[in-house]
Symmetry: C2
Subunit: 258 residues, 2 copies
DNA sequence: CAGTAGAGCGTACGGCATACGCAGAAGTCG
DNA sequence: CGACTTCTGCGTATGCCGTACGCTCTACTG
């Protein structure tokens, strides 16, 4: 098995189906010495410790004490391994307190965004995985469901709800991607994060021309860009803006309905 | 030249400085047969035609009728070539009508977002370039300057302005990245975009469990997700929400100031 | 007319994903 | 119990990739 993709026309790679319990292993031949779970776990360990770039088929196999080609009995291509790693990183969303207590949609959606951010920050390497097509996996579906439930009391039409979900999760993902970029830069060069930021600010100042960039000049004069005092600041600001924007829509919608 | 990075402690790779006119070529040896511009242009052509994955040093060299290693006289590593390609893709921002006519900050910022989106969609391959650290290049600086100018009439403090700029451009980038993912999937498999979407919807329906995902079920029943009738729809919706959110802040800020 | 800096590039190395086929293990069936 | 089937692990090989190194030859400086 795990030979070709989409062997049964379902649109899903075979190994993915196996991982989701949609398919069972045959009983004939010798007992498998490895397992999808162990392979994915080993790959995730490598990615977490040394970045996604260190994840190669050979490296993962070495970690498991197996040969490179042994992995291909479980996974038909590296891309499939990536997919499973992503799924493992995403995990099952934690229950939201605001959802249980029946609070505001805004409180619930805010908590949802924060939970998603925490998840991404725990697995910054996952953001470096190149994606192919829109995501459809059990765990991402679970996240969507939770987001939709957070919006259940908002009174928005269904189409608007899913758009809001995409907007918010896109925002969270984008912010986390920025962090991942910085983390990657930190890891590659030897310098710490602070050094990266000051170096960036220096380069910026070198590029800015007072004549062509008056607004930037006045910004650089009044503001200290490389301020690591509150790494959450940009996220908090953006999230507040987005939630405000959603709230405007909610108010417009509910006013029209009454 | 183009040997090591950061030879003069400015924090910039040598070839990048050369591309920005901060450094001039020596006059001693034989005349260069190639040029940075031609190399970057060839690389961009390949990326535009066959995707970023097709861009390899050997391939670009072949396009120029030169040997692979000849490129390394101009660029010290592939990553530098990526950087220059990105810069070429970004280009100089077009002037915004709303800025010239002195219109609303909201109209100007909206136009800015649309212009940025157009730029990304012209160069979807550029979004697949793995980034290292925060961007600082002449063209991205020019884009920021324009965004800040759009906000000049908003009355926001400088720090809030740059945060808004990052929020909006992050939103635009994220939406374009989604499109780039779909485009990459379309290119890799033979199927057209429509087929990708319906296939995605089918997989989704297969994953959704009525018991654990009640909100998603009702969404899938009422809404047709794979609707290519208006590909801009998601972008329009998100941008409106974000601008609404910014407007809330602007109103709060100006009310406090008066 | 030396001297020399730099251009182009051939070769080589190490790493990567993965196609293919073989040996042997663990079941099933007569 | 044996023959047959099916599946595992893996050795080998192929063809990409980025790029370090060093050679040759060019075109300029003194």
């Amino acid at each position: 098995m795990a030979g070709n993709n989409d062997a049964d026309g379902t649109g899903l790679p075979a190994s993915v189906e196996a991982a989701w319990g949609l398919r069972d292993r045959p009983v004939k031949g010798p007992k498998p010495g490895l397992s999808l779970d162990r392979i994915v776990a080993a790959a995730v360990d490598v990615a977490a410790a040394e970045g996604l770039g260190a994840v190669s088929m050979g490296r993962v196999a070495k970690e498991l004490g197996a040969s490179t080609m042994a992995l291909y009995r479980y996974v038909s291509a590296k891309e499939e391994l990536y997919l499973l790693m992503q799924e493992a990183a995403m995990g099952t969303p934690e229950p939201l307190p605001a959802l249980e207590s029946g609070a505001d949609w805004r409180a619930a959606l805010g908590e949802w965004a924060w939970a998603q951010r925490r998840m991404f920050h725990r697995n910054l390497w996952a953001l470096r995985i190149p994606i192919g097509g829109p995501p459809a996996s059990p765990h991402s579906v679970a996240w969507w469901e939770q987001g939709l439930q957070a919006l259940s009391g908002s009174g928005l039409p269904e189409g608007a709800k899913i758009s809001v979900i995409m907007l918010v999760s896109g925002f969270v993902r984008n912010e986390a991607l920025l962090m991942s970029d910085i983390a990657a830069a930190v890891e590659e060069k030897g310098v710490p994060a602070e050094e990266v930021m000051t170096r960036w600010e220096r380069t910026l100042k070198r590029l800015v021309d007072p004549v062509r960039h008056p607004a930037l000049v006045s910004l650089l004069e009044t503001e200290d860009l490389a301020e690591p005092d509150h790494p959450d600041h940009e996220f908090v600001f953006g999230l507040e803006r987005v939630l405000d924007g959603v709230e405007v829509l909610v108010r417009k919608e509910t006013r029209g309905a009454e």
